[in-house]
Point group: C2
Chain length 228, copies 2
């Protein structure tokens, strides 16, 4: 009897690595799914490949997306600088990529349908998040309602569950859970502007949240930084 299967959205950051470890710990065979969507660097995708290999996923697909050509984000448009040193201003930061999670989850739903996976793991997080609208529990609930109507499987009565096990955890809690499961966070890349070797800038929002997470968890930060 084959084990149940899951699609895991795997960016290569610490949240998605923790999600992958949780899906494996739940006994699921995993299809890992990453995207090349116009990020300014490949460090995260390299980290995703290393994690996919370590966790012996069924397969790891990297889909090309054209989100970069739409612009509108500091993560995909080099003319918009990534904010540093907590200088994020009010409201939703410029690192928000328009409708990104909707596009990612839509592709995960397609892959779940093609592979017969019964769940989608996504490392979205509403606590230490950066104010992104598509990381909130009510957004995920709306996507679940959509998934329940969107596919051939859904018409045939088979549900794909959207699982976001990190959604209500703090970064420190995520790190504690991951360390418990043996996640090697040195493999993961969170930084918005990592260099080609995957070393972090130490200054952007993502670096700040990650650093505070390790400090809060009382666990030594294994992140490789560009300086220091």
């Amino acid at each position: 009897m084959s084990a149940d299967k899951a699609v895991v959205l795997l960016s290569g950051g610490m949240d998605s690595a923790t999600c992958l470890a949780m899906a494996k710990a739940a006994g699921l065979e995993c299809h890992a799914l990453s995207f090349r969507y116009g990020q300014s660097h490949d460090a995260e995708l390299n980290a995703a490949a290393a994690l996919a290999a370590q966790y012996r996923v069924i397969d790891h697909r990297v889909l090309q997306l054209d989100l970069g050509s739409l612009g509108g984000s500091a993560l995909t448009d080099t003319s918009i600088p990534v904010p540093e040193n907590g200088d994020t201003g009010d409201g939703i930061p410029v690192t928000y990529v328009p409708a990104r999670n909707t596009v990612f989850l839509a592709h995960a739903l397609a892959l779940a349908e093609v592979t017969g996976a019964r769940s989608i793991y996504a490392g979205v997080n509403a606590v230490d998040y950066s104010g992104y609208p598509d990381c909130r529990p009510e957004y995920i609930a709306a996507f679940q309602a959509l998934a329940d109507l969107a596919t051939k499987q859904s018409i045939e009565g088979e549900r794909v569950e959207i699982r976001t096990p990190l959604i209500s955890l703090s970064k420190a809690e995520i790190i504690c859970a991951g360390v418990e499961l043996g996640v090697d966070y040195a493999l993961t890349v969170s930084c918005y502007q990592a260099d080609e070797q995957g070393r972090a800038c130490g200054r952007c929002d993502a670096c700040r949240l990650r650093r505070e997470g390790f400090a809060g968890a009382g666990i030594a930060d294994p992140t490789r930084y560009q300086q220091g």
Copy 2:
């Protein structure tokens, strides 16, 4: 004062052409959005480009998608034959592309957010459709609920309306409405296996529905067929 703007999903088929004409007739400036997602031919995209030019859209973007690499559909996987002569069997046909409308609408939502468009026009149709789950009114309502939570605009209280003016019309009614608005259906391509010149096979589901639509409307069928 600039007119309101809409994103129009433009496949190059008759439904999306009619939608574009309706959006223009409503006084909207339009961003046309098409996808190259592994279709076996370019005829539809050529038709979309011709329509975009005729209707003087603000711009026409053709985004590359990797849906083809996921497989699972006769439209993107050449190893699955397109059914002909009404031989569609029971249930949802093999021309269904997993989660396609979810992926398309997600990108349209991103483009609406980047451009400030207030509406998305999609030519989905629940009457003479081919049994696709993501063409039903309840699916569109679920996507609207998702869109109301998904974006930076939505948090700031600006709504993007998902408009599906054809959803409850028959093919004949769509054709009558389009002819009233001056749509040149000879420019459009519906066939699942059109040749490079955009000529239709006359045998697939899409051809059959289109032919029946013109007959029902009592309007001469301007479709260019490969034979006869």
